[in-house]
């Protein structure tokens, strides 16, 4: 990382594979003053609980926190759409001085009467933590008075990072788990944890499991339903995707109900197939195993020929991956390999030591590994490493474009499903579309002098 000036405080968060033994700093708050891409506890819990579509989600605080999270996730529901509304107590100055408890109580009474939701999640934001409203007591009172279980989510933003929000969400979910009737659940059954049904991805995964002959008791939280979550402790196995968001809930269920955990990733051919086989193996049922073999064989043989034409164009192109969690980055690197591409930068906002260690194991020599990067740093590495593609989230897209390189959203703003075998095909298409877009040729003219570059082009055009 010679030509890049890196802030002292950031050095520990950057690792170059092969240069020195692996040792990266992570799971820390960003240095004050950095242009961090990170969010807060509230953001973490909100994104995890958001897809529970028949619950009421009420944000207790000033208007902003609610406004910015209003229907930005694209976590599809096959039924109710209540989760897509934005409810806020919209605290005003006088509430901040005298407390917002009355207002919250009143709001919940009005809402529950109107919508009769299956349950209600009440998110406390920074200011509520500071003024000390007793949200818990109000939730208890509302639950008792209305019969609708009202669950506080302790998500004051300043109490940590997005990851701590996952934990707050798991605690909230834990209040529901175990409260429903488990009669009639098949021994060949699982819960899908940690998928958020962005662009319908949960449906794809659920369909695979059902084709294998496995009953899916609850999808937590993509296309989630309160009643399913109540009885999900009746499942034989928890299949957890994503390193951060749902592991804690699965662990709680393991301790309390003895339900084992399998980790899975649904991105890319290898990881997707492995996820299905792992489940089949665990359930140890001949029919399920046979179904799984058939399914994987069918899907892969359909998929591989379709990937060929993309691979031809993408071979040797260089990618940078910057995701929310680090677990996903691993699948990305593998998927990019499937397309013949090389990952030259890999990073995440919330990875832990273990994630990063695996990331570096998987990476080629010279790959830059980044924790909690900032735009300046990211842009410099993108240039230095001559990336052709950046995979990231909403704030990274314009940075990639400004540099004149392709971009693929692998965060919550993607509009096409990237999970599963058909997701891999979508991914290939999207990467191909952006990496080979003619616009980057036009953009590249700017790197030199546009006018002399274009006159050269025209001359070449004349000759041919």
């Amino acid at each position: 990382m010679t030509t890049t000036d890196i802030l002292e405080g950031r050095k520990a968060h950057i690792h170059e594979k092969g240069a020195v033994p692996f040792n990266i700093a992570c799971e820390k708050q960003s240095v004050a003053g950095s242009v961090s891409q990170r969010a807060c506890v509230f953001c973490g819990s909100r994104v995890v609980l958001y897809p529970i579509a028949d619950a009421l989600h009420v944000i207790h605080g000033p208007i902003g926190c609610a406004a910015y999270t209003w229907d930005i996730r694209g976590a599809w529901s096959s039924g109710p759409q209540l989760h897509r509304m934005s409810f806020s107590t919209d605290l005003q100055e006088k509430d901040v001085i005298y407390g917002g408890e009355k207002k919250l109580y009143q709001a919940l009474v009005e809402l529950i009467e109107h919508y009769r939701p299956k349950a209600a999640f009440i998110y406390s934001t920074c200011i509520v933590g500071l003024i000390g409203d007793d949200v818990e007591a109000i939730c208890r009172r509302i639950s008792a008075e209305t019969g609708v279980e009202t669950i506080p989510v302790h998500s004051e933003g300043f109490k940590g990072s997005k990851k701590d929000g996952y934990s707050a969400a798991c605690n909230a979910l834990n209040q529901l788990v175990g409260t429903g009737d488990t009669n009639g659940i098949s021994p060949l059954s699982i819960n899908i944890l940690g998928d958020f049904n962005i662009a319908g991805e949960t449906w794809v995964i659920k369909d695979y499991y059902e084709r294998m002959g496995v009953e899916v008791v609850a999808t937590i939280t993509g296309d989630g339903r309160v009643d399913d979550i109540r009885r999900c402790h009746g499942a034989a196995l928890n299949v957890v995707q994503c390193s951060g968001s749902m592991t804690q809930l699965a662990t709680m269920m393991k301790e309390k109900y003895g339900i084992p955990i399998i980790r899975a990733s649904y991105f890319g051919i290898e990881d997707m197939s492995k996820a299905l086989y792992d489940v089949a193996e665990y359930l140890n049922d001949k029919t399920v195993m046979r179904n799984t073999q058939n399914l994987v064989r069918d899907e892969v043989s359909k998929l591989v020929p379709q990937l060929r034409k993309y691979k031809k164009d993408l071979k040797g192109k260089r990618a940078a991956v910057y995701t929310g969690g680090a677990f996903k980055a691993l699948s990305m690197i593998r998927s990019l390999r499937t397309l013949g591409m090389k990952t030259v930068i890999a990073g995440s906002q919330t990875g832990n030591q273990q994630d990063y260690a695996r990331l570096q194991e998987l990476s080629d020599e010279g790959t830059i590994i980044l924790d909690d990067t900032n735009p300046l740093e990211l842009a410099k590495f993108l240039e230095e490493k001559k990336a052709d593609l950046l995979i990231g989230g909403v704030k990274e897209r314009p940075i990639a474009y400004k540099l004149g390189l392709g971009f693929c959203d692998h965060n919550h703003e993607r509009k096409i499903g990237l999970a599963g075998f058909e997701g891999m095909l979508n991914f290939a298409k999207e990467v191909h579309g952006t990496v080979t877009s003619p616009v980057w040729k036009l953009a590249a003219l700017h790197r030199k002098d546009v006018w002399s570059a274009t006159s050269r082009q025209h001359r070449q055009g004349d000759e041919s």
Binding site: G33, V35, S36, S88, T89, E110, P375, E383
Partner: protein, 463 residues
């Protein structure tokens, strides 16, 4: 769609609840305004989350990187105050990102803790964290007061408080300050073009043109070329006058400049639509000796010509509008001039002055208009009104798309934020040319609709 089944036509009185807000919080406005200073890095003094949301929302709307740093509050900061964080932040910012200005705004959290930003900034200077010739400005933006427009106004006023200086009693006759208000970068560009055509030297602040509509150069530039420079901001104190476009977003800065440097101020509506643009040009005439170049008169003439061609289609059409007060006042005026009928006008931004100004614009001629502002003036409310009595057209930000779909009413995206369309940052709606574009969009919406709904026998080539 089931999403909207949740809206019924019985308007329930709500006291404690905002549903689907028609506003957001102060810091995002401060952040947007600060990006209109050349080589400025906005800084959010609070937890990481707010800053991250504000940047994402600006990025989604402008399709540009929106840079800002954060104090990254932890639990400790919320107990002991954020002084240590801000000191460290300023040190980091100047050594890593090298801006000329850091524009600090507070969030709910730091505001409630009561951090004293100027005092901390002074301490940072004393510690040598702020290099020579660089500066830190600030404004307070508690989110539980006002809305995003208030934050915009506060940061714009901070530019005056920190920079404006008058170097002599005599003002520079042909130099005027333009405070454009919260509009798109392209609108700021259009406003500047008009000022230039009027042969005046304008200082526009904040000026996000060139910053949030920067060209693609295949290089990443943290500070694009645009924005008001420190020298320009300082020079505002010597201008002959200030034109504040929109009283909510631009009024406070203009007033401060008048008090601080005796620069006389003119507060006008945002120059959106014909009459508001007329007022703008008329005011510019005060400073250029009364001349209006023929080209501007011709632009106006073209607009009137266009409106005359379109007038048969506009007559009597009803409209529901929501958004920021400054925007709504000018838009309403324009719609009335187009012979349309604004029917529901909603803003989440509190402030009674808005009701009076809308009342003036509507006059006695337009009857039965429902105007509402404040916490319960939200998208749920406007939807309920529409369910009771339909309108022909919706004009407002992206959040109206649910109503548009559910009620099958065309929506013209206007205002902030627009999250689902691209191009708005490049095409102005301000000035006469902007008004022409607005007209075109409105008419297209009506005629597309007519084509789509026409039965085979009345589907016609000419319309």
């Amino acid at each position: 769609m089931a999403l909207l089944r949740h809206t019924t036509d019985d308007v329930v009185e709500r006291q404690a609840l905002t549903v689907n807000p028609a506003k957001t919080c102060q810091p995002i406005g401060a952040m947007y305004a600060a990006l209109g200073i050349n080589r400025c890095l906005p800084h959010s003094h609070g937890s990481q989350g707010c800053c991250s949301y504000h940047r994402s929302t600006l990025s989604r709307h402008y399709k540009e990187p929106a840079m800002a740093a954060t104090s990254s509050f932890t639990e400790g900061s919320s107990v002991f105050g954020g002084q240590a964080n801000l000191l460290q932040a300023l040190n980091t910012i100047f050594s890593v990102y090298d801006p000329d200005v850091v524009a600090v705004h507070t969030t709910c959290l730091s505001e409630t803790i009561g951090d004293d930003i100027p005092q901390i900034a002074d301490a940072a200077v004393a510690k040598g964290f702020v290099p020579e010739g660089k500066c830190v400005i600030h404004c307070n933006t508690p989110s539980y007061v006002g809305s995003h427009t208030t934050g915009f106004a506060n940061m714009t006023k901070a530019m005056v408080d920190y920079f404006s200086t008058s170097t002599s009693e005599d003002k520079i006759a042909d130099q005027i300050n333009i405070i454009p208000g919260w509009v798109e970068p392209a609108d700021m560009g259009e406003i500047k073009r008009l000022v230039k055509m009027m042969s005046l030297k304008g200082i526009t602040f904040p000026d996000t043109s060139g910053v949030l509509d920067a060209p693609l150069t295949a290089e990443y530039n943290m500070y694009p070329k645009g924005g008001a420079t420190i020298e320009q901001l300082e020079a505002t104190g010597d201008s002959a006058g200030t034109i504040a476009l929109g009283p909510i977003c631009s009024g406070p800065a203009a007033e401060a400049l008048q008090n601080k440097c005796q620069v006389p101020q003119n507060t006008l509506p945002l120059p959106i639509g014909l009459r508001a643009t007329d007022m703008f040009i008329q005011t510019l005439r005060k400073y250029n000796g009364g001349n209006v170049p023929a080209e501007i008169t011709a632009e106006r003439g073209r607009l009137v010509d266009l409106v005359s061609d379109m007038s048969q289609y506009f007559y009597g059409k009803t409209v529901a509008l929501w958004g920021d007060p400054d925007q709504l006042v000018s838009l309403t005026q324009f719609l009335v001039d187009l012979d349309m009928r604004p029917k529901y006008i909603i803003t989440g931004t509190p402030g009674k002055a808005f009701l009076r100004r809308i009342g003036e614009v509507l006059g006695d001629g337009v009857k039965d208009v429902i105007v509402k502002q404040g916490a319960q003036a939200d998208m749920l409310y406007i939807h309920q009104l529409i369910k009771r009595e339909r309108v022909d057209l919706l004009i407002g930000n992206t959040y109206g798309k649910y109503i548009s779909r559910d009620e099958d009413i065309p929506l013209i995206r206007h205002g902030f934020p627009i999250l689902d369309r691209i191009g708005h940052q490049y095409f102005p709606t301000a000035g006469y040319r902007g008004a022409m574009r607005l007209c075109e969009k409105i008419l297209d919406a009506f005629l597309d609709r007519q084509d789509r709904d026409a039965p085979e026998e009345s589907f016609e080539l000419t319309m």
